[in-house]
Each structure stands twice: as C-alpha cells, then as structure tokens.
Amino acid sequence: MGTYVLRRLLLLIPTLFGMSLFIFLMLRLLPGDVVDLMTAGQEQATDESKRKLREAFGLADPLPVQYVKWILGLLLRGDPGKSLRSGQPIGEALGQALPVTLELTLLAVLMATTVAIPLGVLSASHRDSGADFGGRVAGLIGLSIPSFWLATLTLLFTSVVFGWVPPVSWVPPTSDPLGNLEQMLLPAAALAVQLMAIEMRMTRTTMLEVLGQDYVRTARAKGANDRLVTYRHALRNALIPVISVIGFQIGTLMGGSAIIEVIFGLNGIGATLIQAIFNRDYPMVQAAALFLATVFVVINTSVDLLYGYLDPRIKHA
C-alpha cells in the first residue's frame, strides 16, 4: 500500500510538468499578444514603443527562456509572476478569486448530494414505480440542460417575476454569511443541477446492483426490515462509486463554473481565466490553468487512494 501511494504521488510530477509545458505552448500558439491588443487601432504606436513594452513584459525572450524563467520562479520562489495587463501579482489575484470558486463548487456539491442521494435510493428501492419514473425523467432532464442556459434563464425569471436578482457585489461569508448565501445560492444551484442528475443516476444504478446481491438477500432472509437493509447493508456499499464520481466532479466543477461566474458577475478563478485569455495575459492564464489542472489531478489521485481505502477488495501490489 505504501509503495502504491508513493508511486501515485511520484507520477504526479511528470503529469504536472507536462501540463505546464502544454499550457505554456498552447497559449503561445494563439496569434497576437498583449501588446498587439493594447495597441489595437492605435495608428501612432511605434514599433519602438511596442518593442520596449514587450521587453518590459519579458515577451522578447526566446520561448524556452520564457518557460524556464516561469517554471523557476514558480518552483524556487513560489512566484507565478505579475499580470501583464494589470500588473497585479498573480498570487494576489488568484487569492481573491479562489474563495469565490471554492465556495461555489462546494455549495454546488453539497446541494447536489443532499438531493441526489436520497432520490437515487428512493428510485432504486421503488423500482419501476411512479416515483422511480419521475426521478429518472428528472435526472435525464437535469443531465441535458446546459448550466449556462439555466443560469441565464433563472436570472431573467427571478428578475422579471420577483424583481429580484442576487446582490451584485461579492460579500465574503466570514463578514456576512446570510448576504453571502443570498448571493451564492442561485449560481450554486445552477451549477449543481447537472451534478445532481449524475449523482442521482449513479446512486440508483449502484443501489439496484447492490440490492440484487446475495448478502442483501441473506439480510432479508434473516428478517432484517427493509429500511435496515436499504440503509445499513446496501447504501454503504453502493456509495463507494458515487463518492469517487463526486470527487472527480469537484475538479470539473471548479473549471466548469467559469461560465456561471461570468453570468453572475462573480470574480472567481474561471472568470479570471477567461478574461486573461481574451487579454493574452500569459502568466495569468498559465497560473490559473495550471492551478485548476493541479486541483483536478490532486483530487483524482486522492479519490483513487481513498477508493482503495474504502474498498479493501482493491488490492495494491
């Protein structure tokens, strides 16, 4: 087990390294840089002043030099650099954005899970009943609705019908928990719907599988009541794959919340990333993308490891 964990962790290094290179190069394949954008339509901008600005931004160096400078700064000093467009230290910018995205993601997972798992269990334990069909249809709908569409529609709906939209200025949960919740509930719900559907369907499927197992029949045979069988024997085993799905989805949600953040005017990591791409703000994009990728990889690895721990049947050489 120890070697397995170590091997999984060591494997992270080349993965992250490769990812950094990929992000770095992909970005530079895009035509146009920040100086082109800043001087767009400016007939008086001289090549000389553009060159000076590129030098000041470190864009005049050859690509390998730029890459090594970036990686070394990141590894040795923990410094992802400064935004080319705003000059703001990137650590600071992401530090402001992270709580928003994190809260949005966790809130969405919480909402999805508290609704989806009971529904999935209900659906499975009353297979082919009206409730089951209702749940399955709702799940399919939830799976098919794009979150950005739902977000825009929800906003317009509440604004036209109730004359209300979430407050537009971000309040940290530490200073005003209720105000913060008022602001985050709607975007989190919009983000949660798809995950909810995935979790609900997953729970239902695994529950059905587990309910057909011998040990469940044995439990029933020895006279345990339905509730005990469902929740004590079946659910605990059925949840293992569901938990791993939730884990994987957290990484996806953090990146996927970008569009929700833009629609609701929340200054999260995703919105920052999108803005930075349009601005050709290389270090900002690199830092934000690498951050999201790292979160994704780390969560996946932890879920894998956790999975082994939860399910002793999985053997590790």
Binding site: L30, P31, G32, D33, V35, D36, L37, M38, T39, A40, G41, Q42, E43, Q44, A45, T46, D47, S49, K50, L53, A56, F57, L84, R85, S86, G87, Q88, A93, Q96, A97, T152, L155, L156, T158, S159, V160, F162, G163, W164, V165, P166, P167, V168, S169, W170, V262, I263, F264, G265, N267, A271, T272, Q275, F278, N279, R280
Partner: protein
C-alpha cells in the same frame, strides 16, 4: 451659434477675449455639435489670437451651457442649468444631493493607471477621479476644467492658467509643477502604459509660476488642445504619483469622486469628493461600477434594480423599452465601422483603386443599417458623424461618394479587368457580433457584383495582431474610436505615421493628400482647417484606401430614478459625473 459661445458673450467678455476663446474652442477641433437636425456650430470662428487676453485667473471662466443633451432622452431632467461640466458659477444645483448608484461595466477596467492606458475600459474605471486641464462637455465643446484659461501666444507655444485652490484627493493643491510632471509622464509612460497619442511636437514644458504652465512646441499643432481635453490620456495627477500609491488599483486625482477601492474583474467604488473644485458637484454620495460582462445578466440586474444602468446592444435595449421603470437613452458615439485594406502588394485585385471603388459602390449601407443596426445608424465619412461639423454632409455621402450603385460597381470591375469577379477574405471581429453581421451583409452585397468575400470571424486578439502587422490577405471589417482632433481620423494615411509603413508603403501614396494633412496641422484658422479636412475626405473617399461604412448608436438603459445621464460621444460614461438619483 454654439451655446458655449453664446454664454461667453452673455458673461460680457471683451470682444478680444471672445475672439481668443472662440478661436481656441474651435482649435479644439470639436466645436459644439448641436442636437441632430440643428444647424451645426460654425467653424469659421477666428483663429487663435496670437496674444493672451489676460483675465484674472480667479474668475470663473464660463457659464454652464444650457443646451439639452444631444440625442438623449433622460426623463424629467430639468431642462435648464443642468450640465455641470461648466465650472463654479453655475446657478443653484438643479440636481438632488445624496444617494448611491450602481452602474454596470461590460468590461473589466483591468487597471487604473493614469498614463499610457489604451483600453477604453480603463477609462471607464478611472474617469470619475480625474480631471484634465480642459474637458469636453456633452456637446463636445471644450470647457475649462483644471485650467481656467488657455492661449497660444505664438504658434510654438500654449499657455494654461490653472484654477487656484483646486485640490487633489490627498489634500495637496494642484500646481504647475504637478501638471508639468504629468505631461512628461505622458511622453514616457511606465509599463503597462504605452505612448500612443502624445503630440510629437511638444518639446518642453515649463512651470512658469505656481499656476501657469507653458508648453513649448517644435512647430504649430492645433490638435494639442483636443489632446488636453482627452482625459483618457491627460489626467492631472500629483507629481510623483507612482511613488505615492499603487497606480494599478489606486489613484489620486481632483475629480468629483474619490476612489474607495478597485477589485479587478469585480468592482470600482467611488465616494463623493467634498472638496471638488466645482462646488455644485457632485450629487451622489457613492458610485459603484460593477463588472457584468454578460448582457442578459445586466438585463436581469437592471430590471430588478440591482444596478441603475448600463450599456446594451440595440436589440436588447429595445426589449426593455416597454418597462415602466426604465428609460432607454441613445446617442451617436465615436466608433464608426469601416473596411480596411493592406495595399502593399500590387498583385492583389484591391490594390487597383477601381476595384476599391467598385466595392464601395456595391455596398448598400442602408441595408447594413436596417439589417444589423435596427434602422438606427448613419452613413459615415472618414470622420464619423457627430464629430462636430468636420465630417462630409450625409447627403453628399449618400448621393455621391458612398452611393449604392451596382451598375457602376460592375463597370468599374470590368474596367479593372475583374469583370468575372474574384475571391477574397473578409476578416471581422467576433464578438461583438454586429461587426461580423455587418461583414456578412457586405459579403452578400459583393456577391451581386461577382466578388466572393468569405467572412472570417476572428477573436479580438488574433484580429488585432493581423491588423497591427498587416499580415492578412483581403480586407478587415473593424470599428474605429474617439480621436482628440479630426487629424486623428486621417493621420494613418500620412507617410510619417508609424502604421503607414505597415499598411500602405509602396502601394498607396497621394501627394496632394500628404500636403493637405501637413498644411492642416500648420493652420490654426479653423475655417481653413475645415476646408483642408473636407478636401482630404473627398480624396480619401475617392481613393478609398479604407472604406467607411456606418456609424451606429450607443444604447444605455437606466432606471428612472437616475437623472441627468446621457450617452457620451466619447464612449465613456462621463454623464455620471453630473448625474443624480431620486428616491
């Protein structure tokens, strides 16, 4: 006669002082454009008088203009005495003091650096905390701001007299030293600033005394006045501001509102400056600018009252026209659309002037206006409509230079040897979608004369790179912006302008045009300048190195409680400086 000139006369200035001032106002290149349909302001005002008519600098310089805002429809805005771009002596405030306002920005200001910032959104973020020496009012007439008077003692010198007692937000007084330092910073802005519009003929700046700044020039350049009204490039800051605050997110100005905080990608918060030099302003206690890039989110926020106003596309603004709580404002703004060519390679069909003329006459501009801009736009000359009376009259454009005439287009193509047509690329920016939609309509028009124009929508970064290095084949459909002086709209066609080498060198050069553009910068006489730029536009609309298309309207929708707001021609939200709220 423009309202500001009338009010100057009413204030009983001497004739000599009036001549000087009128000349200088005209020298701005931007004499008041009255409401559409009203006769345009005269440009035949006398040239800047060679000597300053010394007038006590403490005297307020001009009474407020009383003209209603051009092309705006703020409900219940009291018709008189409102505009407050005019200083100090305005009669008792018409607006209501107090209250807060939230305005949506469709783009992040990114940073608030005072000097060398190009993006318009940067100006949206910082415009309420700064003043320039002089300022455009809502009719684009030049008004005093931190300078109460200005003059041109000779054609190599401009002198600005500063307003005494005007204070920065840190409490220090505005002096000539600060102004001098700021102008020098504009000549060499630290990154991420970049020098783009700085008048090349400025040599040195002298702080003559505490309240007098002299700008020495290597030669005449009447566009300097417009430059110093262009607050985007010329805010006045305390000397050494870069060492005092982090200019990326902070600032020290003299404007009606003081910056509280700027959170990039989120919001800018301003509070009332109680020591503003114009005692009647500002009205509001607080302004919050909220970054809301998604248009439907802005609609939802506006309908529910979470924001008090913002900018919208024409289609979306019209969907809100029936909401009793909202008012739709519209007005021309400096952002005309045009087709650009790179004319360096003689092998390209469009290097032949007849082909460009054919393209020009094949385009049905009214069709673009109807299909893309909801019927609400104007033909645009090289200088866009609404920019004083500098552009060619629309009748001349419609009936002659930009006339839709397919037969003429066909015969021109025939004469150029392209009777059977050719294929080309037409790049467009996307988003915003109306640029690409315009390109698609143009492509349809060109099909009728046998030209197959393939529309290639590009994300702005890619488009900007192609535009900056001329590395595209075919044409680009793009939007232009505000300029401080009419010269700004024609300067790219002069061989000395940096971009000329990239776009035209070796493929397009018109000696008559070059001479006119040179002369126009040596001519302080506004009537003569007008003639020169009229001739320049006539040449350009015949040679057509670039083909101007249309100028659309900018729509801003506000809650009814917001008063005295107007659509600013400059594409900024300048109206908020004098806006107030009720209830």
């Amino acid at each position: 006669m423009s309202p500001d000139v009338r009010s100057l006369l009413r204030r009983g200035l001497t004739r000599r002082a009036w001549l000087l001032r009128a000349g200088l106002l005209a020298g701005s290149g931007l004499l008041a454009a009255c409401a559409p349909g009203a006769p345009a302001a005269p440009t035949q005002a006398p040239a800047a008088a060679p000597t300053a008519a010394a007038k006590p600098t403490t005297a307020p310089a001009a009474a407020p203009t009383t003209a209603p805002p051009a092309a705006t429809t703020v409900p219940a805005a009291k018709p008189t005495t409102a505009p407050a771009a005019a200083p100090t002596t305005a009669p008792a405030a018409a607006g209501k003091r107090g209250g807060k306002l939230t305005w949506a920005l469709e783009q992040d200001p990114v940073h608030l650096i005072p000097y060398g910032a190009v993006p318009t959104a940067n100006m949206w973020g910082k415009e309420f905390m700064y003043d320039s020496l002089i300022a455009w009012d809502r009719n684009l007439a030049i008004q005093p701001a931190l300078a109460t008077e200005w003059s041109a003692p000779d054609d190599h010198t401009y002198v600005f007299k500063l307003r005494q007692g005007a204070k920065f937000h840190d409490g220090s007084e505005v002096t000539a030293e600060d102004v001098k330092w700021g102008i020098e910073a504009q000549a060499n802005p630290p990154p991420p600033g970049i020098k783009t519009q700085y008048p090349a003929k400025i040599t040195t700046i002298d702080a003559v005394d505490k309240y007098t700044v002299r700008i020495n020039m290597s030669g005449p350049d009447p566009s300097v006045i417009g430059y110093f009204a262009w607050q985007r490039y010329t805010p006045v800051t305390p000397k050494g501001i870069y060492d005092k605050v982090n200019v990326l997110t902070q600032g020290i100005g003299t404007g009606p509102y003081k910056l509280v905080e700027f959170v990039p990608n989120d919001r800018v918060v301003y509070t009332r400056n109680p020591d503003f030099w114009n005692k009647d302003l500002p009205y509001l206690d607080e302004i919050t600018l909220k970054v809301l890039p998604d248009e439907q989110a802005r609609v939802a926020a506006l309908r529910s009252g979470a924001i008090d106003g913002g900018t919208f596309t024409a289609d979306v603004a019209k969907t809100m026209a029936n909401d009793r709580n909202l008012t739709v404002l519209k007005g021309l703004y400096a952002a005309h659309k045009e087709i650009q060519f790179v004319l360096k390679d003689a092998k390209n069909p469009w290097s032949d002037v007849r082909v460009r003329q054919a393209i020009n006459h094949a385009i049905n501009r009214q069709d673009i206006i109807d299909k893309v801009f909801g019927g609400d736009a104007s033909y645009s000359s090289i200088i866009p409509p609404g920019y004083g009376d500098w552009p060619l009259p629309e009748a001349d454009l419609k009936g002659n230079y930009l006339k839709y005439d397919v037969d003429k287009a066909k015969s021109l193509l025939q004469a150029a040897g392209f009777g059977s047509g050719f294929e080309m690329e037409l790049q467009s920016i996307n988003p915003p979608r109306y640029i690409t939609q315009s390109a698609e309509v143009v492509s349809e028009h060109l099909k009728a004369v046998g030209i197959k124009a393939n529309v290639v929508p590009l994300e702005i970064g890619t488009f900007a790179k192609n535009n900056a290095d001329g590395s595209y084949s075919g044409a680009q459909l793009t939007a232009r912006g505000m300029r401080g002086d009419p010269n700004g709209y024609v300067t790219e066609f002069h061989p000395k302008t940096p971009i000329f080498a990239t776009w035209f060198e070796g493929g397009f050069l018109n000696d008559e045009l070059t001479k006119i553009l040179d002369d126009a910068l040596l001519t302080p006489d506004q009537a003569k300048r007008k003639q020169l730029y009229t001739r320049a536009q006539q040449i350009l609309l015949t040679e057509l190195p670039h083909i101007p298309l249309v100028q659309d309207m900018k729509y801003q929708v506000v809650r009814n409680r917001l008063k005295n707001m107007y659509v600013s021609y400059t594409d900024f939200n300048t109206g908020l400086r004098e806006a107030w709220v009720e209830g």
